[in-house]
């Protein structure tokens, strides 16, 4: 492969998909970022739903454990959690596996990313969803119980539909955070959008070509998300009166 020195390649060609362009690398990085954000958000949502119900309706032990989880995770920076899980935790796990006579395992950076960011998202989503549930008028829940609904049905048919609209703005914030938290995975050498941009610009020295391009890609994620979230919120608030007059 013979590319001219990067300084002689026009900016558009550097960003293109040709033999000497880094477009494919950037798009690949963007894809990785989105996959991790989606995975982490989904995992976080599952944790969040369980956590919120557990904190409100669980037994004393479940409540305490969840309290410890949300406190610790929200206190430690994501960056530190990523480093702990990727290096310290896998090292420990492999030592145990070797001691028991198994082979060492390798945890792929993408799984690490999804799990760590998912655990972090879970803690924040627990609190957002808990707030959403608390904002459901108590009378609605009492009425449902008075009708003889078991608690599973109350959760599914009364609480979840009513809390969705309350929780959505907070959840939307967390989604936008998740898309940008993926950039933290650059520290373990994982090629998501930020790392791909860095590699492209460090190799070609065209920093002012690639970083604005990455900025546009992140902006694109945000704009698409905002549009979709707007639609979802409209759907969740259907039938509610707009009280702004």
């Amino acid at each position: 492969m013979t590319c001219p020195p990067p300084a002689q390649i026009p900016a558009l060609e550097l960003l293109g998909f040709g033999e000497c362009g880094w477009g494919a690398t950037l798009i690949w990085g963007l894809g990785n970022s989105i996959v991790i954000a989606l995975g982490a958000y989904a995992l976080g949502f599952a944790i969040g739903i369980c956590g919120a119900f557990g904190k409100l309706y669980g037994g004393p032990i479940a409540k305490d454990l969840l309290g410890v989880y949300t406190t610790i995770v929200r206190a430690v920076p994501e960056l530190v959690l990523i480093l702990i899980l990727f290096y310290a935790f896998t090292g420990l796990l492999n030592d145990v596996l070797l001691a028991w006579g198994y082979d060492r395992i390798q945890i792929s950076p993408i799984i690490t990313g999804i799990v760590v960011l998912g655990v972090v998202q879970g803690a924040y989503q627990t609190e957002v969803l808990r707030g959403g549930i608390l904002a459901v008028p108590a009378g609605q829940i009492e009425a449902a119980r008075a009708m003889g609904m078991p608690s599973g049905v109350v959760a599914r048919r009364i609480i979840l539909p009513l809390m969705t609209a309350n929780a959505l703005p907070g959840l939307a914030n967390l989604w936008l955070n998740a898309t940008k938290d993926t950039a933290l995975l650059a520290v373990i050498g994982f090629s998501e959008l930020t790392k791909a941009t860095y590699q492209a610009s460090a190799t070609t020295k065209a920093f002012f070509v690639f970083y604005p391009a990455a900025m546009c890609l992140y902006l694109l994620i945000s704009l698409t998300s905002t549009f979709l979230i707007g639609r979802i919120e409209k759907w969740a608030r259907r039938g509610q009166r707009d009280v702004r007059g």
Binding site: M1, C3, A7, E19, C20, G21, W22, A24, T25, W28, L83, F86, Y87, A88, T90, G91, N94, R104, I105, Q106, I107, A186, V187, I188, G189, S191, K195, Y198, Q199, A200, A202, T203, K205
Partner: protein, 257 residues
């Protein structure tokens, strides 16, 4: 039918684990030309990549390159994320406490660069009162801390040599210290030609600067003998010289130790 599919999936899963996984060679994810850097299509290229190709062919090993953050290479090796470090890592006593090293496969002196006409000397006196840039957790950082820190204004550390060079060109540091080959590549680039010049190599200190660059391995890994034999073999049959000639004007192997 479902059972047959399940059995087939299980057979596939087990048979794939029966084959040896390819060996993961960790390189720093930050470009370090001309030894390791990604090209536009995401492949890794450079002297070390070609060298690795020759080594793996010689030793009949199945190798893949796994980019890992430079300062996370040793933890990644000891925690089992990668199997071998191949990232221009110098063999030092400090690192040898944690990991094993193969024989060295190249050895080049450390050099000081500064802005043109600065008149600095690569000695503690010549750099007194100056701000010196080095890459973090490298032998050069250890050297600068020992020899230059007492008299210099500040030792500034960078994640990558690229950032260090950028700051030198921008005038945020007075001098930079790094491997002479890597700095030569910078000095012959347009940005390097415009701003900077070599001030000469520093006085060697094998205890800190190490005995050249080798593969890093987990303690007691039997792979070490295989890699050493392969290095010897490609030195002897001329493959090493052919690869080196592609990138450098002179041999970079250094002396046998």
């Amino acid at each position: 039918m479902k059972k047959i599919v399940l059995a087939a999936v299980a057979a596939l899963a087990f048979s794939s684990s029966a084959f040896a996984d390819p060996l993961k060679f960790g390189v720093a994810a930050e470009p370090y030309p001309p030894f390791t850097s990604p090209d536009a299509s995401g492949n890794w290229v450079g002297w070390e990549v070609d060298f690795l190709g020759a080594i793996c062919k010689q030793a009949a090993l199945d190798c893949v390159i796994t980019p890992t953050a430079w300062d996370g290479l040793i933890p990644a090796l000891t925690s089992g994320q990668i199997d071998v470090i191949m990232s221009s890592m110098s063999i030092t006593a400090e690192r040898a406490k944690t990991i094993d090293f193969s024989d060295h496969y190249y050895n080049t002196p450390a050099m000081i660069v500064a802005t043109k006409g600065s008149g600095l000397k690569p000695t503690p006196e010549g750099l007194a009162g100056k701000i010196i840039g080095v890459q973090v957790s490298t032998t050069h950082e250890a050297y600068a801390q020992k020899y230059f820190a007492p008299t210099a204004a500040e030792i500034k550390t960078y994640q990558t040599l690229d950032e260090q060079n950028q700051d030198l060109a921008a005038g945020r540091i007075d001098a930079g210290m790094a491997d002479s080959i890597a700095l030569d590549a910078f000095l012959s680039s347009d940005a390097g030609k415009a701003c900077c010049e070599s001030e000469g190599n520093v006085q060697d200190d094998p205890e800190i600067l190490g005995q050249g660059v080798g593969f890093g391995l987990r303690k007691g890994d039997p792979l070490k003998d295989k890699l050493n034999a392969a290095i010897k073999a490609i030195r002897a049959d001329g493959t090493y010289a052919a690869i080196t000639a592609k990138y450098f004007k002179s041999d970079i192997y250094g002396s046998d130790k």
